[in-house]
C-alpha cells in the first residue's frame, strides 16, 4: 500500500528555505521522518528498508558501522508500527531509526568499544539511554565505529579500521564518535548517539558538517556507557540539525536511578518556539583561541558565525580565556587516571580477549591486555597509572584536580557576564588518514577548544558554519552555563534559521 520511497515523499512534501548546493539526494530530518510515520505516509518497515539499503550501499566506503541489528530492529519496528497504527503517542521521534556508538551497552548486540580487548562481548543489559530510546519508540539499527575506548580524535584506532569522512574519503571523520558523525552526515541514519569526554561528539560533528550536543555533566545517565573517564564522559545526540538533536536530548535526558551523578530532577523540555532574534544576548569570544596553531579558514568561519549572531541582535564581547595553558595537561592527567582504573577490569577472564599464550594468572593479565589493547589505549593507561602512583599522586593528579576547580570557577565568572562562549571546535578541518596518528602530542593539543566544557561539566553544541577551500565542512562551538541546554538550543535554532550550512550534504553515491 505504502510504496513511496522516503526520498520521494520528502522531495514532494518538504521545501527547504535554503537550497542544498551539494545535494545528491534529499533525505528528511528525523523530525520530518517522524511526522511522515505519524501521518502513516510511510511505514517503519519501509524506513528501515531504506536505511539498511543505504548502509549496505554506502557504508563499505565509510566504515562507519561495526554491527547491524537488523533482526531486533525489524522486531521492534513491528511493535512500534502497531502502536503508531493505534495512534498511541510514544514520542516526537517514534519509529525513527537510530544508531549507537559502540561504547554504549545494547543488550544482545555486540558492544566492543571498537577494541580487540572486548571482541565478542555482548552486554546482558541495555544502557539507560537505550532503554529510553526504546520506550520512545525509536529503532536501534546498529553500532557505530569509533576510536578504541573513545580515546582519540580520528576514529582510526579501533579494531574495525578507520572511518572515512563522507566529504572526502581520504580524510578522517574525526573522533572519537567518528562513525556516528560519518553515518549521520551520509544520511545512513537520521540520528546517532555519541559520547563526549574531551570533544568526541563536537569535533567529528565539525569534521562531517553535522550538529551535535555535548550535554551538561549529569544531564544524561551514563549507566551503560562503557567508561573512559567517568567524571568527564557524557552521552549526547548527533543529527543533521539542532531540532533533531534537541528532540533526542529530551528523550535521553530522563531520570535514571542507576547513575548517582545524574542530577536533573526531570527530563529537559525544550519549547517549540522559533525565534529569529537574539537581542540582549551576550556572547563571549575568547580571542586567545585564535592565536597560534589555528587554521586561518577555521578561524574566519568562526568569526563569520559570531558576526551572524551579531546580525541577529547579540552582542559579541572579546575576552582572554584564562588558564588556557593548563587545560590540556589537566584534561589528560584526569582522563588518563580515570581511564587506567576504568579499563583495569578487562582481563579476558569473563569476556573479551583472553591470550592463548597465558599459562599463569600474571600472564593472563599481562598478555591478554598487551594483545587486546591498541597503542593509544595503552599509552593512556600507562600515563594514568603513572600519575596515580605513590609519590606522583600529589604532584600530578591532585594538582590537576586543583586546576580543574580553578577552571570551573573561571567559567562560572565568565557566565556571569556572557550567555554563551563562541569558539572553534578544532584547529583544522578534517585531516588525512594517518596524518596525526603518529604524533600523539599534536593530537592532544587539537583538543584545546573542547576539553574545557568537559572539565567544567558544561553543555556545548557543535554547529556547521561553512566549508573551507577544499570543500571540507567547518564547525563552531557554542558553550553555555550548566543546564542551560534550552538556551543553547534556542540560539542554535536562530543560527540555523539564518544560515543553510547544516542543510548541505555530502555526495554519497560512491
Amino acid at each position: 500500500m505504502i510504496t513511496n520511497s522516503v526520498t520521494d515523499i520528502v522531495e514532494n512534501s518538504v521545501t527547504h528555505s535554503v537550497a542544498p548546493s551539494i545535494t545528491h539526494s534529499v533525505a528528511p530530518s528525523a523530525l520530518e521522518l517522524a511526522a511522515l510515520l505519524k501521518a502513516k505516509k510511510i511505514s517503519v518497515a519501509e524506513v528501515l528498508d531504506h536505511y539498511f539499503g543505504a548502509i549496505e550501499k554506502t557504508d563499505p566506503h565509510l566504515n562507519s558501522f561495526l554491527a547491524l541489528a537488523k533482526e531486533s530492529a525489524l522486531a521492534q519496528a513491528k511493535i512500534v508500527q502497531e502502536k503508531l497504527n493505534l495512534n498511541e503517542t510514544l514520542s516526537s521521534l517514534a519509529g525513527v531509526p537510530i544508531a549507537i556508538k559502540d561504547n554504549i551497552s545494547t543488550q544482545g548486540i555486540k558492544t566492543a568499544c571498537a577494541s580487540k580487548m572486548l571482541d565478542g562481548y555482548v552486554p546482558v543489559y541495555d544502557a539507560s539511554v537505550v532503554t529510553k530510546l526504546k520506550q520512545a519508540g525509536m529503532i536501534v539499527i546498529g553500532k557505530l565505529n569509533m576510536d578504541e575506548f573513545a580515546m582519540g580524535g580520528s576514529s582510526e584506532t579501533g579494531i574495525g579500521g578507520p572511518v572515512h569522512n563522507p566529504w572526502d574519503l581520504s580524510r578522517v571523520a574525526g573522533g572519537s564518535s567518528g562513525g556516528s558523525a560519518a553515518a549521520v552526515a551520509a544520511r545512513l541514519v537520521p540520528l546517532a548517539l555519541g559520547s563526549d569526554t574531551g570533544g568526541s561528539i563536537r569535533q567529528p560533528c565539525s569534521f562531517c558538517g553535522i550538529t551535535g550536543i555535548k550535554p551538561t555533566y549529569g544531564a544524561v545517565s551514563r549507566y551503560g556507557l562503557i567508561a573512559y573517564a567517568s567524571s568527564l564522559d557524557q552521552i549526547g545526540p548527533m543529527g543533521v540539525n539542532i531540532d533533531d538533536c534537541a528532540a533526542l536530548l529530551k528523550i535521553i535526558s530522563g531520570p535514571c536511578e542507576k547513575d548517582s551523578t545524574w542530577v536533573l530532577d526531570k527530563p529537559f523540555d525544550f519549547k517549540e518556539s522559533q525565534p529569529n532574534r537574539l537581542d540582549g544576548v551576550k556572547i563571549g569570544l575568547p580571542i586567545n583561541y585564535f592565536a597560534d596553531g589555528i587554521d586561518k579558514e577555521v578561524a574566519e568561519s568562526v568569526l563569520r558565525a559570531a558576526k551572524e549572531f551579531e546580525n541577529a541582535g547579540a552582542t559579541i564581547c572579546e575576552f582572554e580565556m584564562p588558564l588556557l595553558d593548563y587545560v590540556i595537561p589537566t584534561y589528560y592527567i584526569i582522563a588518563c587516571a580515570e581511564a587506567s582504573s576504568n579499563l583495569s577490569r578487562y582481563d579476558g577472564l569473563k569476556y573479551g580477549h583472553l591470550s592463548k599464550n597465558a599459562n599463569t594468572l600474571d600472564e593472563i593479565y599481562r598478555l591478554s591486555r598487551s594483545e587486546g589493547f591498541g597503542i593509544e589505549t595503552k599509552r593512556r593507561i600507562m600515563l594514568g597509572s603513572f600519575v596515580l602512583s605513590s609519590g606522583y599522586y600529589e604532584a600530578y593528579y591532585q594538582k590537576a584536580l586543583k586546576a580543574r576547580a580553578l577552571l570551573k570557577k573561571a567559567y562560572d565568572q565568565l557566565f556571569e557576564q556572557y550567555n554563551f562562549i563562541i569558539s572553534p571546535v578544532a584547529p583544522t578541518s578534517a585531516y588525512r588518514h594517518g596524518e596525526n596518528i603518529t604524533d600523539p602530542l599534536k593530537m592532544y593539543i587539537a583538543d584545546l577548544y573542547t576539553v574545557g566544557a568537559n572539565l567544567a561539566g558544561l553543555p556545548a553544541v557543535s554547529l556547521p558554519c561553512g566549508f573551507d577551500s577544499e570543500g571540507l565542512p567547518l564547525g563552531f562551538q557554542l558553550c553555555g552555563n550548566a543546564f542551560k541546554e534550552a538556551d543553547l538550543i534556542m540560539a542554535s535554532r536562530v543560527y540555523q534559521a539564518r544560515t543553510g550550512h547544516h542543510l548541505k550534504k555530502p555526495e554519497v553515491d560512491f
Partner: protein, 477 residues
C-alpha cells in the same frame, strides 16, 4: 643486648560485614552459603558500563557504630578506588574510603588487669567486599561473585594494645557492640567479622619497631595464638641481632605458625583516587540526630541498668546480656510488669535450660513475654507454687499455651484454703502413723515426708508453707 624487657605493640584492622540485606552498590541480596554466582547482577559483577548506587543503610550503619565508638562523623565523606588486579575483584578496584573516611578519632574502653584502658579508633570506613576464589583440584580455580559488593566497615585502631588479652577483650566488646547495634552478626568463622593484626616489638622506652601485618585469622583463639607466636618470632629474631622485614604474613591455624605473603618492597601500589562515579556524601545534622536518637541500649548500658535499677546480680546481668535476644526478652517481660529479679532467674535458669534441651539459639526463641510476666507474677503472689510454675513455663515455651487456662485446666492453682489443707493433712496423718511417731520421737526428717504426702494429696497445688504450718500446728496442739 640490654636487659630491659621486650614490649609488644599491636594495632587492629577489624572488618565487619553488614546486615543490610542488600549489597552496598546494587540491590542484590547479601547472604552466606548460597550456590555460587546466584546473588549477582551486572553491577556487582563489574560488567562494562555499570555504575554504583550507594545503599543508604550502609552509611546509617557506619554512623551508628561511629557514634557508639565516640567518633567524629565526616559529613562530606567520599569514596575512593583502591586499584589492584585479582580475579576475585571483577572491577579490578575496590570502592573504599582512604582520603575521607566516614568516622574518625574515636575510642573504646577495655578492661585490663591494671584497670580500664582506652583504645583509640583512628578511623572507620565503608567499603565493598571482594568475591571468593575456590581452588578445586579437578576444575582449577573457580570464581564465586556472591560476596562481591557485600558492605563492610573497616575499623582501624591505633597501636594501643600490649598483649592478646587486651586484643581479645577489645574484640569481644566490639562484637557485642556490632551485634547490639544489629549491624553485623559477629561470626568470625563465617567471616562476617574479620581481623588483621599489625604487630611489632620493641625494648621498653624505645621507638616503635618494624611491624608485620597478620591475615587469615578466623577465630578469637586464632587471634590469640597468632599474637603470641608473632611476638615470640620477632623477639627471637631481634634477640639474635636480626631485623624484622615489613611484610604481610598469613596465619596457618592448623599448624600454629605464619608465613610471609609479600614484603613491603613487593607491596602493591593501590593508586587510590576519588571514586568519580559517586558524589561526596552530605550527611545532614537532622539525619545525624535522628540516628543518635534511634541508637539502641548497648550491653554494658543494659548491665548497669539491670544492676542499679533492678537489683540484678552481676552474674545474672552478664548471663542476660550474653545474647541480645535474652536481654530483649528480659526487658519485654519486666515491661509487662513482672518482678525483675524473679524474671532474671526465670530467663537465666529455666528459659536457658529449655533452649538447650530444644537445641535452639537464643535468637530463635519465640516466646510471649506477656505470658511469662503473668507467670512470674503468679508465682510471686503465691498463686502457683514452684513446680506448677516450672510446668507452665515449659508448656508456654513448647506449645504457647495460655498460662491461666493451663493452670485452671490442670488444677495447678495453689491451694491456700486452710480447710482443704487440713482435710488432706488429717488424711495423711491417719494413713502414716509410723511417720507421725517418728517425728514425735525426734526424727525431724519425717516432717518432710508428711509435707510431701500432703502435697501429693493436694495434687501438687498446695502452698508448701501453709501445709507445713498446718502439720506443725497439729504436732504442737
Amino acid at each position: 643486648m640490654s636487659k630491659t624487657a621486650w614490649e609488644t605493640v599491636i594495632g587492629l584492622e577489624v572488618h565487619a560485614e553488614l546486615l543490610t540485606g542488600s549489597k552496598i552498590f546494587c540491590s542484590c541480596a547479601t547472604s552466606f552459603g548460597d550456590a555460587p554466582n546466584t546473588l549477582v547482577c551486572p553491577i556487582c559483577s563489574g560488567m562494562p558500563g555499570t555504575l554504583p548506587k550507594l545503599n543508604q543503610s550502609v552509611v546509617e550503619y557506619a554512623i551508628r557504630l561511629g557514634l557508639v565508638l565516640n567518633c567524629e562523623i565526616t559529613k562530606n565523606c567520599k569514596f575512593d578506588r583502591k586499584n589492584y588486579f585479582y580475579p576475585d575483584l571483577p572491577k579490578a578496584y575496590q570502592v573504599s574510603q582512604l582520603y575521607s573516611p566516614i568516622c574518625r578519632n574515636g575510642y573504646l574502653e577495655i578492661e585490663t588487669e591494671a584497670g580500664q584502658k582506652i583504645i583509640r579508633i583512628s578511623e572507620i570506613h565503608m567499603e565493598e567486599d571482594a568475591g571468593k576464589l575456590i581452588h578445586d583440584k579437578r576444575d582449577g580455580t573457580l570464581m564465586d561473585f556472591n560476596r562481591c559488593g557485600t558492605p563492610l566497615l573497616e575499623i582501624v585502631t591505633e597501636p594501643d594494645f600490649e598483649n592478646e588479652v587486651e586484643v581479645l577483650d577489645f574484640l569481644e566488646k566490639m562484637r557485642e557492640i556490632l551485634v547490639y547495634l544489629n549491624i553485623c552478626d559477629g561470626k568470625m568463622q563465617e567471616g562476617s567479622l574479620r581481623c588483621d593484626i599489625n604487630l611489632s616489638v620493641k625494648k621498653e622506652g624505645a621507638e616503635l619497631g618494624v611491624r608485620t601485618e597478620m591475615k587469615n585469622l578466623n577465630s578469637f583463639k586464632a587471634v590469640a595464638r597468632a599474637i603470641g607466636d608473632e611476638a615470640l618470632r620477632q623477639t627471637q629474631i631481634l634477640s639474635r641481632g636480626g631485623f624484622i622485614v615489613q611484610e604481610t604474613r598469613r596465619w596457618d591455624d592448623d599448624n600454629g605458625l605464619s608465613y610471609a605473603m609479600r614484603s613491603k618492597e613487593n607491596a602493591q601500589d593501590y593508586r587510590y583516587f576519588p571514586e568519580p562515579d559517586l558524589l561526596p556524601l552530605n550527611i545532614s545534622e537532622a539525619w545525624l540526630s535522628e540516628i543518635k536518637k534511634s541508637l539502641p541500649e548497648l550491653a554494658h548500658e543494659k548491665r548497669s541498668r539491670y544492676q542499679n535499677d533492678h537489683g540484678i546480680t552481676p552474674k545474672d546481668t552478664f548471663a542476660l546480656t550474653e545474647d541480645k535476644s535474652l536481654a530483649d526478652l528480659f526487658d519485654d517481660v519486666i515491661k509487662n510488669g513482672a518482678d525483675p529479679q524473679e524474671s532474671a532467674h526465670l530467663i537465666c535458669g529455666e528459659i536457658k535450660r529449655l533452649l538447650n534441651t530444644a537445641g535452639l539459639a537464643p535468637k530463635e526463641l519465640r516466646i510471649d513475654a506477656k505470658k511469662l510476666a503473668q507467670l512470674v507474677n503468679l508465682v510471686i503472689k503465691g498463686e502457683i507454687n514452684r513446680s506448677a510454675y516450672k510446668e507452665t513455663v515449659e508448656a508456654v515455651f513448647n506449645f504457647d499455651v495460655c498460662p491461666l487456662e493451663y493452670i485452671e485446666t490442670k488444677g495447678l492453682r495453689m491451694q491456700n484454703d486452710d480447710n482443704l489443707i487440713k482435710k488432706a493433712a488429717a488424711y495423711v496423718l491417719e494413713e502414716n502413723p509410723g511417720a507421725v511417731s517418728d517425728y514425735r520421737s525426734g526424727k525431724d526428717k519425717a516432717l518432710g515426708f508428711l509435707i510431701g504426702q500432703t502435697m501429693k494429696e493436694l495434687k501438687g497445688t498446695g502452698n508448701p508453707g501453709a501445709v507445713k504450718k498446718v502439720l506443725l500446728d497439729y504436732f504442737e496442739a
